[in-house]
């Protein structure tokens, strides 16, 4: 039994850290909603909805600033150690990544506005699947953070390659479409941009999942560091 089990001390720090985590969750949920709203605007050719999405981005930016200020204050004033330190450093990185997810939602919404006025092109199964996969990765990465569940985080990492391949597929299909029909050039380019932004959202979801593993297991797995370490051991 650890000492913490028998004589748990209430810590003022836990309360403050909990508040910052709550703010980050609010921010992440908003960013996820923004991506979904932008994709719906693409699908439904709804320029007005796209404009709403663009205008709502400042709320995410404001949350990022608040989280950053409070996290820095906690670092300076509470001198967190071990899991507390990892959590705060990860919160700073995650809030930065989530802010960028919000920016990608804005980019997608801008494409949606242009698509609403462009020559209509048929919907694409590859794109629909990609949109579901990328937003699903984001949702699950946030959920892994909430539950502090590294196993759930690992399932997110495994799905990134599929989204990358879907991005390539959308690119190829759009290229073919544009070659056949000059009217498809404007909407085709916009769809390529939407896919590219979604691919980036999936990358950011991957970062978030890696941060969850770092918080819980104190292991850095990005850039396949663990693989290199293993290779190093074999060399010796």
């Amino acid at each position: 039994m650890s000492p913490a089990d028998s004589d748990k001390t209430f810590r003022h720090f836990d309360q403050e850290l909990g508040e910052v985590r709550e703010l980050l969750l609010t921010m992440a949920s908003r960013a996820e909603e923004q991506v979904r709203a932008a994709l719906t605007a693409v699908k439904q050719r709804d320029a007005q909805a796209a404009t709403h999405t663009i205008e709502a981005d400042h709320k995410i930016d404001a949350l990022e600033i608040e989280i950053e200020e409070r996290a820095i204050s906690l670092l300076a004033r509470q001198q967190p150690m071990a899991i507390d330190l990892r959590m705060l450093v990860a919160i700073l990185k995650i809030s930065n990544d989530v802010e960028r997810v919000g920016d990608h939602a804005v980019n997608i919404a801008q494409c949606a506005k242009r698509l609403a006025e462009a020559f209509p092109i048929a919907s694409l199964d590859e794109f629909d699947t990609m949109a579901e996969d990328a937003t699903g990765m984001l949702r699950d990465a946030i959920s892994a953070f909430v539950d502090q569940d590294p196993d759930k985080a690992r399932t997110v990492l495994l799905r990134d390659d599929k989204v990358d391949r879907a991005n390539d597929a959308v690119f190829r299909v759009m290229l073919a479409l544009m070659a056949e029909n000059a009217n498809a050039i404007v909407p085709g380019v916009q769809m390529m941009l939407v896919a590219r932004n979604l691919e980036r959202v999936a990358d950011l979801a991957t970062n978030l999942a890696e941060d969850v593993i770092y918080i819980v297991e104190a292991r850095t797995i990005k850039h396949h560091v663990a693989d290199h370490e293993l290779e190093g051991e074999h060399d010796q």
Binding site: T9, F10, H12, I72, S73, A76, R77, Q78, Q79
Partner: protein, 258 residues
């Protein structure tokens, strides 16, 4: 000129105006003017000899006990000059309690330590209830309720310090002065005292002197930085430890000197 960014907005628990303290001809505190807002924790920090303990001791006239000490300027407690002729220093010390660096329980039972103040003050009411409430407030009740008759000297250092806090609270002060209250304690006992400070501030104004900057950062709402008897900067604690206004403060909190 000192940077002072804290005002009590007309609700100061304590206010100093041009306060200087002399030990003989040595000016240990130099014309310090600032306000301590009610129900806040204010930390006094600075290198050894900067005058932080001297300033703290002015607030309940402990310097009266040092023959060579002389205080000039005004210290206002609820608008009244603490050093006016008609003011009784004993009454001042009841309303402005103090906890010292080294726990100093009386060689009596736990119960008698806490009951001591209310008894000599002739406080009406139920002494048992005052003892329990004070020990509860000091987060010690659960640990000692079954052995109130035991000697206070049997307690651990951290428990003795919380007993001293309970003893100070038993006479219903409005302000608690703490002079390095955790410097003789281990990290766990220190954490308990710090949590206690967070709880007590709902009912009391707390002024704490600490040479441990991290402790000031953790527990206080506002921080005053003193150097060679001068108030260099008085700001909200967040600012002091993330972006102080004065270069001098920055050099101190980053450990570049002191």
């Amino acid at each position: 000129m000192a940077t002072i960014r804290v005002t009590a907005g007309g609700d100061a628990a304590l206010e100093t105006r041009d306060v200087s303290v002399f030990y003989g001809s040595n000016e240990a505190i130099k014309q310090v003017s600032f306000e301590i807002p009610r129900n806040k924790v204010v930390a006094l920090i600075g290198p050894s000899g900067c005058g932080k303990s001297t300033l703290l001791r002015c607030f309940n006239r402990m310097n009266d006990l040092v023959p060579s000490a002389r205080v000039t300027g005004k210290i206002l407690f609820q608008g009244e000059d603490l050093y006016a002729n008609h003011v009784d220093p004993v009454e001042v010390r009841r309303r402005i309690g103090m906890v010292f660096q080294k726990p100093n329980p009386f060689p009596k039972s736990i119960y008698d330590n806490v009951a001591f103040g209310p008894r000599i003050n002739g406080t009406g009411g139920n002494i048992d209830a005052i003892v329990e409430q004070s020990l509860q407030q000091a987060a010690l009740w659960d640990e000692v309720k079954d052995r109130l008759g035991h000697s206070a000297l049997e307690l651990s250092g951290g428990q003795q310090q919380r007993l001293c806090i309970a003893r100070a609270l038993a006479v219903t002060p409005e302000i608690l002065l703490m002079d390095e209250p955790a410097s003789a304690l281990d990290p766990i006992a220190t954490a308990k005292i710090e949590e206690l400070i967070h709880q007590l501030v709902a009912d009391y104004t707390i002024v704490i002197v600490t040479h441990n900057m991290q402790q000031a950062a953790r527990v206080s709402d506002y921080t005053a930085y003193l150097y060679l008897g001068e108030l260099i900067e008085y700001n909200d604690t967040n600012t002091i430890f993330t972006a102080p206004t004065e270069k001098h403060t920055e050099d101190y909190v980053t450990g570049r000197f002191g």
